[in-house]
């Protein structure tokens, strides 16, 4: 059963658009929400030492106000499902114009975020979003190559200085004190170089895309856990780029559930399903499973099915991004680390598989004990 294709809704929690597939819609809506929540508009520049000559001849206040107005309108248009592809193109162009118009505003994170919007805005319906994928590949290639050719990355000097004198990272300092000098620094530097360069072929070879997505998310999350910072927009944009490698199911997803066991959970999950992506059907007769989900040629049961329901709901990504972006004044780094650690713990594959394995063992033991008693 295909998802009902209605007119775009004003509801920001709905993810339907005639021009963009769900995965790209999530990508731009997550980033639009983030740029609004972190109030990025306040740092959009007036022309100052531009990369493109002549921009600084424009009236600075008019330039900046225009940039800010277009930025906010486009971000809101994306959130409220109004001409999302065009709004992404305009928002991306606005950010890229900001980047080339001011050396004070220039930054890799803003450039990458602008490119994510802009390249998504160029998406051709029915085709793979290859420009977004290639952009991620080129970014990792540039980052890895620069480190590979830098003597301070070979020796570990960069990391030692960064972790000890800049970040005052307690875990690193404690571990470094019991290891031979510079060993940990070298390991971290070379680990970063190898990861960044190894991701590149995984991005360009389709059969390795799964590993590229895993490596990208784990690497960027690792950076956030280590530093406690999102590097302005970098964490959000890099992780969101992973969405360009997945295809959301076009059909409604049927979920079979045992109403006696997961009725309350089912009610909550149905309430959170603003798009009506899931079709919930109670089991007609009891089976060993309390939850069963089939998507494409893959079937999931119990905790793995529960994990997939959460992962296939676009609201999950909006909620995670909002949780990280809306940082409380006190202990921002600890808060971000906690949110990201919890998301990784609950949403990465091992926990659900482990829970199913343990549940399976308990059920098997219960069946064995009942048969012995009989």
């Amino acid at each position: 059963m295909a998802l009902a294709s209605s007119r775009p809704s004003w509801n920001p929690l709905k993810f339907r658009d005639p021009e963009l597939p769900t995965e790209l819609l999530i990508l731009v809506k997550v980033l639009a929400l983030v740029v609004l929540l972190v109030n990025h508009v306040r740092i959009l520049p007036d022309p100052w030492l531009p990369f493109v000559p002549g921009i600084d001849r424009l009236p600075p206040v008019l330039f900046q106000r225009t940039l800010q107005t277009v930025f906010v309108i486009s971000a809101l248009a994306i959130l409220f499902n109004r001409r999302v592809r065009l709004a992404s193109l305009v928002l991306g162009a606005t950010m890229l114009l900001g980047v080339v118009s001011s050396k004070a505003y220039y930054g890799n994170n803003k450039t990458f975020c602008g490119l994510m919007f802009f390249l998504t805005g160029l998406y051709a319906p029915g085709r793979k979003p290859w420009p977004v994928q290639w952009q991620l590949g080129i970014t990792y290639f540039g980052a890895g190559l620069n480190k590979l050719l830098d003597a301070d990355w070979h020796s570990g000097v960069f990391f030692q200085n960064w972790a000890v004198h800049r970040l005052h990272q307690p875990w690193y300092i404690a571990l470094d004190s019991v290891l031979p000098p510079m060993l940990l620094a070298r390991l971290m530097c070379w680990g970063t170089i190898v990861t960044e360069l190894a991701v590149v072929p995984a991005i360009f070879i389709q059969s390795l895309n799964y590993w590229a997505v895993c490596a990208n998310i784990l690497f960027q999350s690792g950076l956030l856990l280590f530093t406690g910072t999102t590097f302005t927009l970098f964490f959000y944009s890099m992780t969101a780029a992973s969405l360009a490698f997945v295809s959301w199911p076009k059909e409604r997803i049927t979920v079979l559930y045992n109403a006696g066991v997961v009725d309350r959970i089912a009610k909550v999950l149905r309430f959170c399903d603003a798009d009506g992506r899931f079709h919930w059907i109670p089991y007609s007769e009891p089976t060993g499973d309390w939850l069963h989900l089939t998507t494409g040629d893959r079937a999931y049961t119990n905790f793995r099915a529960l994990r997939m329901i959460v992962l296939l709901n676009p609201l999950t990504y909006l909620a995670i991004a909002a949780l990280i972006a809306v940082v409380p004044e006190f202990s921002a780094a600890a808060y971000r680390r906690t949110v990201v650690a919890l998301c990784l713990f609950f949403l990465m594959p091992p926990l659900a598989s482990l829970a199913d394995w343990l549940l399976g063992r308990r059920q098997a033991a219960a069946v064995q004990s009942r048969s012995l008693t009989a």
């Binding site: 100052w48 080129i138 540039g142 190559l145 301070d152 960069f158 800049r166």
Partner: protein, 120 residues
């Protein structure tokens, strides 16, 4: 057609920037985020008057003392180009930046460059 040509031209530009970065100290548009840590202290004197920290920030859009997570040349570019633009307005500035890259030995950068015989 444009949906293919525009991304391709972006990627060619970025690959060109990655190659170009091998021959220059700057790292613009070549994806080198957080690859270098520079801590610096800068002071500037304009037309004989030493700038306060607030005046320095207003003039160069950078704090007089702080960190930069990219090539230090990006900082020097901003200071130098800001002064080149103001030279025509009659400002005569001297800037001294004391800095360390990745915590190594202290270095110093000056504007005008000691070996430069052009703008003074």
């Amino acid at each position: 057609m444009l949906r293919t040509l525009i991304p391709i031209s972006f990627f060619v530009f970025q690959l060109g920037s990655i190659i170009y970065a091998r021959f220059v100290p700057t790292r613009y548009f070549c994806w080198a985020p957080y690859d270098t840590q520079t801590d610096y202290t800068a002071s500037a004197t304009v037309n004989g008057k030493k700038l306060t920290a607030a005046e320095f920030r207003r003039r160069y859009r950078r704090p007089a003392r702080g960190f930069d997570n990219r090539s230090p040349q990006h900082l020097f570019d901003m200071l130098e180009q800001a002064e080149q633009k103001r030279f025509d307005l009659g400002d005569r500035a001297t800037i001294v930046v004391k800095y360390r890259v990745n915590g190594k030995e202290p270095r110093e950068w000056r504007w005008p460059h000691p070996d430069l015989h052009g703008i003074r």
